[in-house]
Symmetry: C2
Subunit: 102 residues, 2 copies
């Protein structure tokens, strides 16, 4: 199972007025992606645990086989729909890195 | 091996004047941590692949058994030394999230 060699990391900060309902819709929406995007070898996301000051609110870590698989995920209609429907409406700030797992 | 239930994610943006030598010292310094901090079940870090505009420069993802193991890692002298010696001198911006892997 450990053949994924490419990792996509996104940290999100939500708008102050983001509702719990909207955050739950995001969790549910992301949770539906692995069954639609087989390139996702591992897809682990979650809310910040609230243990450190200054943290962002939410993390998404996707492990994929390679850069091409990441491109497929990034452009996949289900992923794009999740961004539009669940992330953009509550997004204050986003930072990301893609890196190779040696 | 998949008993880790807690993930620590850090994204870094380096100063524009950060040298390749300093970045390599950071990679080497982080690479030495797992042998010194047994709480690190998985420790995968690396440079941004340069595929997406606006990304940060570097990612660190640590998987640990639980919140307590994360606290041990966070406060470990070897980790603190790596922050002081290798991260702080070249750091422009840092964002982090800790979250539970359900």
């Amino acid at each position: 199972m450990e053949k994924a060699t490419f990792r996509h990391v996104v940290l999100l900060r939500f708008r102050a007025d983001a509702s719990e309902q909207a955050k739950q819709a995001l969790r549910d929406g992301l949770g539906a992606l692995p069954s639609q995007i087989p390139e996702l070898r591992s897809y682990r996301f979650g809310d910040d645990a609230g243990l450190a000051a200054g943290n962002f609110d939410f993390a998404i870590v996707a492990d994929l086989d390679d850069e091409q698989a990441w491109r497929t995920y990034a452009g996949h209609p289900a992923h794009q729909a999740a961004i539009e429907q669940f992330i953009r409406p509550i997004l204050e700030e986003r930072v990301a890195v893609q890196y190779r797992l040696d």
